[in-house]
Amino acid sequence: MNIEKIKQYFSGKEKLTIYENVVIFEVSVSNILAFASDLRNNKNLQLKFITATDERKENGCFKIWYVFGIPHEHGFIIPFIELKNTEQFPSLSPLIHNAWNYERKIKTFFGLDPVGHQDSRGIILHENWPTDIYPLRKDFDWNNRPQEASGTYQFQKVDGEGIYEIPVGPIHAGIIEPGHFRFSVAGEEIVLLESRLGFTHKGSEKLFETLALNEKIRLSEKISGDSSFSHSLAFCQALEQLSDTIPPKRATYLRVIYAELERLANHFGDIGAMMLDTGFNFGGAHSARLREMIMQINERLTGNRFLRGINVCGGISKDIENREKEKLSEELTSILKDFNEIIHIAENSSSLLNRLKGTGELSLETIIEHSATGIVAKAVGITDDARVDFPYAAYDELELDKIAIEQSGDAYARFYVRIKEVYASIKIIKDALKILPDGLICAKNISPFKKNAVAISVVEGWRGEILYFVTTDADGIIERVAPRDPSFINWSLLGHAGVHNVVPDFPLINKSFNLSYTGNDL
């Protein structure tokens, strides 16, 4: 990060604290709205994340952190506000829409009230959780089960003749995660779609505060099981920043290879599942086969189909031997050949294309308003990709093809972004295998974590950008870990994508997003 270049974002009066790629500084509560909207609107920075920390014991205040990313500088500006003797803070959501759910979450989990927020309902925690117990406060007794409460949750309601509601879930007919969807329908057309999640809430953020360091890494792998490697990579990178560790070159290349294998497996799975949902069984069966081949490669290389237990602080734990290099490269060539054939057949099926085109369309404005990430954003032509904007591991040394984008914003576009990313991923893995440097795979000495520090790490998981916000206390012990799965952002878009489609198309729209429930519910 070039300090000179980021000077333009400050007035010069702030007291800046700089860690590696993160600049933090306090902004007064009365100034934060103006400051944040200036960063976003005039300086075109993205609001990546908002979270809070409970520092009442050390500093006598709650802090709320507003994480802004500076693309291509691999830097983050984090203004924060201190809430002393108050549990209210001004809501940013009327000015910046994507603050909406972050603020709801702060309200639910920290009991801090965003003044001016339009939605006073809780998020993730359900009606059986007492409304006056805030689990992410430090004084919350996580070992004891609170009394069961019985509140009510008000769904949005559509009135009018012929409107009826279809409640779907939380238990579904397929083997998928639980989530509730409330459709308000006129005939077959969806008028309003509201999703209610939180059924898989496990208290992961609180667990991060209590587990030992090794187990924290294992926990990060389970934030969203299908993105195990990307999540643990993001967390380990944050730990490496906090301890000033530079992982060896070979490790960074291997991380790229594993991360792309994970992307491949999931994209094959999704491409197949989308075809299966339209009833195009041939494509569904064969894409599932390709996914399984990647999973078996994963198991052969690392002993784990989901690439768990690979990332450690300072590098990785499993090497790829030389004879495996050739074999992997050959296997990818044959997978690519099969994939080409499947896509060729799919492209010639007019019934498949008819189902995908125009289904679940999202406009560029909606995407920008919600700061959508990953495949959903790429499908309307937004070229944001953490591998390019905030290069990590060895991505800055590998030539990434153009970021895969489409323009139409429908299920077809999301289908095609995945197909293009499959081609790109195979190319990256092959390139990385070719120039894989020799050496260690894990740094030898890990120094203790910096004290009172903040680290931000982003990784482009297969769904989109995964972000980890990690802070340490005065003893250099990790105090708060706030993972943000891309699903948390993109779930708010699903309702918009569903409106004006017919009910039988919703499963396809949902599949074209394929968001994580557990990654959202934490």
Binding site: V168, A173, E188, G279, N281, S351, R355
Partner: protein, 312 residues
């Protein structure tokens, strides 16, 4: 001898219909490079379901409890009323084209009622979709069957299948047109692609499966069996009215054996076509289905028009 043949006719549909389902599933599996379950699996499924306990919603009325029996019974009655392997049976009581079509409609009526009976949202939209599709399919079905009736001059199905003159050069084109119209209706009425996906787990896209979602155990077995019977009935109608070859014309053991074998071959071919369709195309979007059913209606209307011109 006649009693024996009648018994054969009566059990033919329920005995062979699960096999049809098994064959379609096997073909689909093969086309996806999978091994697939045995073609006798549907028998085992029905047997298994018949031995299971069932759960009935406390909100369910007698409609829900009796519908499976009514629906299953209609398929058995129709199974005895259509030409399967012998055209000499001449059932004049229920063997009429209109009786068969509207007995089928009676089954559909109770199926839709049963879907709505428990008040679940899925059953409700399943029934709504089923009625939309049946209403649109009815025209095509009636006109397609009328094509055959007009060219022979009777609405008794056994007599039509006995005539065996449909594919003579005079009526060749109209028979083929009407058969295509009929085949579209077959797919719609039996819940196959591109109308419905019998293998889906996605509750929001279902039609037939959504209506029977609340059933379990023995009643579910009857519902599944009745659905298989319905498919067999439609396949047999298509095979024997439009291509009435090989059917036994006289009470003769050899003719009857040949009749049964040829029926099986014809139905196997139809199963194969359905299996291939389900493996090679995607399901249509719900709002495109009426277009397809209108196509069926128009094809059958054209066929009737052609026949009228020839007769005049």
């Amino acid at each position: 001898m006649m009693i024996f043949i009648w018994i054969l006719q009566l059990i033919c549909v329920p005995a062979l219909s699960p096999l049809c389902m098994g064959i379609i599933k096997k073909i689909k599996a093969k086309l996806q490079n999978r091994v697939g379950a045995s073609i006798f699996q549907p028998y085992k499924d029905i047997w298994k379901l018949l031995h299971k306990d069932e759960v009935i919603s406390t909100d369910a009325s007698w409609v829900f409890r009796f519908a499976p029996f009514i629906i299953f019974a209609t398929t058995i009655v129709i199974g005895a009323s259509i030409p399967l392997f012998a055209s000499f049976l001449k059932n004049t009581l229920t063997g009429d084209l209109l009786v068969v079509v509207y007995t089928l409609a009676l089954g559909t009526f109770f199926l839709a009622l049963a879907g709505m009976d428990t008040g679940s949202a899925f059953g409700g939209f399943g029934s709504s979709r089923e009625m939309t599709i049946s209403a649109l399919a009815e025209g095509g079905l009636i006109l397609a069957l009328f094509t055959t009736a007009l060219s022979i001059g009777t609405t008794n199905l056994f007599v039509i299948s006995n005539a065996g003159m449909l594919l003579s050069t005079q009526f060749f084109l109209s028979t083929i047109l009407a058969f295509i119209g009929f085949f579209i209706v077959l797919l719609a009425e039996t819940g196959r692609f591109p109308f419905d996906n019998p293998a889906t787990h996605l509750e929001l896209t279902m039609i037939h499966e959504a209506m029977i979602l609340e059933y379990s155990g023995k009643r579910l077995a009857l519902m599944e069996w009745a659905a298989a019977n319905k498919f067999f009935i439609f396949a047999a109608l298509g095979a024997n009215l439009f291509f009435p070859y090989g059917i036994a014309h006289s009470v003769d053991t050899q003719a009857i054996v040949i009749g049964i074998i040829i029926l099986l071959i014809k139905i196997f071919i139809l199963c194969a076509i359905v299996g291939i369709i389900e493996s090679t195309m995607a399901k249509f979007r719900f709002f495109r289905l009426p277009d397809l059913l209108i196509t069926s209606l128009i094809l059958s209307a054209l066929a009737i028009g052609l026949i009228q011109m020839q007769i005049l």
